[in-house]
C-alpha cells in the first residue's frame, strides 16, 4: 500500500508542475506589462518598479522565484487590490467557497447515491423512469440557469429564502447556493450509481447470496454497495472540479465573496498575479483530490494496488 501511495504521489507531482509552468508562461506571454498605465513615468521610476517586482530578471529566475514562493504559500502581490497579497485574498475567500463546495458535494453524494440505489432496485419501473428523467434534466440544465430560477421561485415569489449572500444569515443564505451547486452533481451521481449497481447486481456472487436466502436490503448493504461505489468514487475527482467551476457562477449570481468571485473579478480586471495564483491554487486542489481518490480506490479495491 505504501508503495502504491508513493507511486501515485510521484505521478501527481509532474502534473502539478506542468500546470504551474503553463500558467506562468501564459501570464508572461501577455502583451504589455502590469504597470503600463496611461501615465508616462520617468524611466528611473519604471526601472525601480520593475526591480521591486523582480520584473527585470530573466524569465527563468522569475519562475524559480515564483515556484519558491508557491511552495511557501506565497503567490506574490495582487495588481488590482494594491494593499493585499494574493495569498491574503485567497486565504480570506477560500473558507467561504470550501464551506459551499463541501456541503454541495456531501448533498450530492447522499441524495445521488440514495436515488441511484432506489432507481436500480426498481429498474425499468415508472419510478426509475421518472428519476432518470429528472437526472437527465439535471445534467442538461446549466447551473447559471438553475440558480436564477431557484431565486425567482424561493426568494422573489415565495420569499422564503434570501436572494443574495448579504440578505440573510447562517443556513438560510447557504441553502439556495448549495442546492444550485449540488443539483447537476446529484444527477450525475444518481446515474452512475444506478448503472453501476445494476451491473453489480447481475454478477454471480450476488446470485449466490440470493440463493442463500439473503434479503434485498442485506444484499445491497453487505455485498453490492461497496463494489458498486467504485465508479462513483472515481467520479469524485471530476465532481470536485465541476463544483469548483460551478461555484464560480453561483458565487457571481448570489454575490458570495468566495474564491470564484475573486477569480472572476481578477479576470475582468486583468489582475495577472491574482488569476495566476487562483489557477495554481485550484489546480493543486484538483490534483490533490484526484490523489486522494486514487488512494481511497486502493484502500477499497486491493486488486488496484497490485498493478
Amino acid at each position: 500500500m505504501l508503495r502504491y501511495a508513493l507511486r501515485r504521489l510521484l505521478g501527481a507531482v509532474p502534473t502539478l508542475f506542468l500546470v504551474i509552468v503553463l500558467a506562468f508562461l501564459l501570464v508572461h506571454a501577455a502583451p504589455g506589462g502590469p504597470f503600463d498605465d496611461q501615465r508616462v513615468l520617468p524611466p528611473e521610476i519604471e526601472a525601480n518598479i520593475a526591480a521591486a517586482y523582480h520584473l527585470d530578471e530573466p524569465l527563468v529566475m522569475q519562475f524559480l522565484r515564483y515556484i519558491g514562493g508557491v511552495l511557501r504559500g506565497d503567490f506574490g502581490p495582487s495588481f488590482s487590490y494594491r494593499d493585499y497579497t494574493v495569498s491574503e485574498l485567497i486565504g480570506r475567500s477560500f473558507p467561504i467557497s470550501l464551506q459551499l463546495g463541501a456541503l454541495a458535494t456531501l448533498l450530492a453524494a447522499i441524495v445521488g447515491v440514495g436515488t441511484g440505489v432506489v432507481a436500480a432496485l426498481r429498474q425499468n419501473s415508472a419510478l426509475d423512469k421518472v428519476v432518470m428523467g429528472f437526472a437527465m434534466t439535471g445534467i442538461s440544465i446549466p447551473v447559471f440557469v438553475i440558480a436564477p430560477l431557484l431565486v425567482l421561485l424561493f426568494a422573489v415569489k415565495l420569499q422564503w429564502l434570501p436572494a443574495s449572500w448579504t440578505g440573510g444569515q447562517g443556513a438560510s443564505r447557504l441553502l439556495l447556493p448549495v442546492i444550485s451547486l449540488a443539483l447537476p452533481q446529484i444527477a450525475y451521481v444518481a446515474r452512475l450509481t444506478r448503472a453501476s449497481l445494476i451491473d453489480v447486481l447481475s454478477s454471480d456472487f450476488i446470485r449466490t447470496a440470493r440463493a442463500q436466502g439473503l434479503g434485498t436490503v442485506a444484499i445491497i448493504r453487505y455485498h453490492a454497495l461497496k463494489p458498486a461505489m467504485l465508479p462513483v468514487l472515481s467520479y469524485l475527482g471530476p465532481a470536485v472540479a465541476a463544483v469548483l467551476t460551478g461555484s464560480v457562477v453561483v458565487e457571481e449570481i448570489f454575490g458570495i465573496p468566495g474564491l470564484g468571485q475573486l477569480f472572476v473579478r481578477g479576470s475582468l480586471n486583468r489582475d495577472y498575479t491574482l488569476v495566476l495564483g487562483v489557477v495554481v491554487f485550484y489546480a493543486s486542489l484538483i490534483v490533490l483530490f484526484n490523489l486522494v481518490v486514487d488512494l481511497l480506490y486502493g484502500v477499497i479495491d486491493p486488486r488496484i494496488r497490485q498493478r
Binding site: 500546470v19 442538461s140 447559471f144 431565486v151 422573489v156 489546480a283
Partner: protein, 281 residues
C-alpha cells in the same frame, strides 16, 4: 415475450433518437431562417419599445431587451453560435481524438504508454481555468474560445477510441492487411478508423453538450462572446438581473439552451443504447 419486449425497447430508444434529433433539426432550421424572415435586425435599437413583453403586433415575438433590440433575432443568433460551437467541437474531437487514440492503440507498447500518460495528465488539469487565463491574457477572441473548447474535447474521444482500437488490432482483417504489406498510417486510416464509426458517433454526440456548456459558461461570465454579438449564455446573463419584471428575457434563452442540451444528451444516450444492443446481438 422476451423478444417482444426487446423489440419494444428498441423502438422506444429509436423514438427518443428520432424525437430529439428531429427537434434539434427544427431548432437549427428556425435559427438559420428566422433572422432572415423577421423584419428586425439584431443591432437596431428601438427606444420606444424598451423591455417590451413578447407581442405579435410589432413582430417582437420574443419581446425586446433593455436597449429595445428584438429578442427573437438575438436569440436565434445565440442559437446559431451554439450550433457553430457544436460543429467545431465535434470536428476537433473527431479529427484529433480519433487519430490520436487510434495511433496510440494500434502502435501500442511504449508509444501507447507515453501518449496515454499525456492524456491522463491533461485530464487532471483544471482546463476551464486555463481557458479563462487564456482569455484574460490575450484579447477576448471568439476563435480562442473554439480552440479552447476543442482542446478539452478530444481527450475523452482519444481514450475511448484507443480502447476500441486495442481490440480491433487483433482482428483477422488487420492481420491480413499487415501481411500483404499495407503501411501503418494506411491501416489506421483505411481499416481501423472506419470500424470505429459507431462508438465515435455516440461520443461525439455526448461531447457536444459539454462544449456548448463551456461556451455559455464563459459568455455568462462576460469572458466569452462580446456585444453586440450574442450567445445563449450571454442572453441568460443579461436576463438574470431583469427577471423580476421581464421574466421572458431570462426564460426564453434559458429554455432554449436547456432544450438543446437535453436533446443532445438524449440523442447520445439513445444512440448508445441502439449501438449497444446491436453489438450484443
Amino acid at each position: 415475450m422476451s423478444m417482444f419486449s426487446r423489440a419494444f425497447a428498441h423502438m422506444r430508444t429509436s423514438r427518443t433518437v428520432m424525437f430529439s434529433g428531429g427537434l434539434l433539426v427544427a431548432i437549427a432550421i428556425i435559427a438559420i431562417i428566422g433572422p432572415w424572415i423577421s423584419p428586425h435586425s439584431y443591432l437596431t435599437t428601438d427606444f420606444d419599445n424598451l423591455v417590451h413583453a413578447p407581442t405579435l403586433r410589432s413582430m417582437n415575438v420574443f419581446g425586446t431587451d433593455d436597449l429595445g433590440r428584438d429578442l427573437f433575432v438575438r436569440t436565434m443568433l445565440g442559437v446559431q453560435v451554439t450550433l457553430v460551437v457544436a460543429i467545431v467541437a465535434s470536428v476537433v474531437s473527431l479529427v484529433i481524438g480519433v487519430l490520436y487514440g487510434a495511433t496510440a492503440g494500434y502502435i501500442g507498447g511504449r508509444v501507447d504508454a507515453v501518449m496515454m500518460r499525456l492524456v491522463d495528465t491533461l485530464y487532471a488539469t483544471p482546463f476551464i481555468f486555463f481557458v479563462i487565463l487564456l482569455l484574460v491574457v490575450f484579447e477576448r477572441n471568439f476563435l480562442l474560445i473554439f480552440v479552447a473548447i476543442g482542446a478539452i474535447n478530444w481527450l475523452d474521444m482519444a481514450r475511448i477510441v484507443r480502447g476500441q482500437t486495442l481490440s480491433l488490432r487483433e482482428r483477422e482483417f488487420v492481420e491480413s492487411a499487415k501481411l500483404i504489406g499495407v503501411s501503418t498510417p494506411r491501416i489506421i486510416l483505411r481499416h481501423i478508423a472506419p470500424n470505429l464509426i459507431g462508438v465515435v458517433i455516440v461520443y461525439v454526440t455526448l461531447t457536444i453538450p459539454q462544449a456548448i456548456l463551456i461556451e455559455s459558461f464563459l459568455s455568462f461570465l462576460g469572458l466569452g462572446i462580446q456585444e453586440p454579438q450574442t450567445s445563449l449564455g450571454k442572453l441568460v446573463s443579461t436576463g438574470v438581473p431583469k427577471m423580476g419584471n421581464a421574466l421572458w428575457m431570462l426564460l426564453i434563452p434559458a429554455t432554449l439552451l436547456a432544450t438543446i442540451l437535453l436533446c443532445f444528451n438524449f440523442l447520445g444516450d439513445g444512440l448508445r443504447d441502439l449501438f449497444d444492443s446491436r453489438q450484443s446481438r
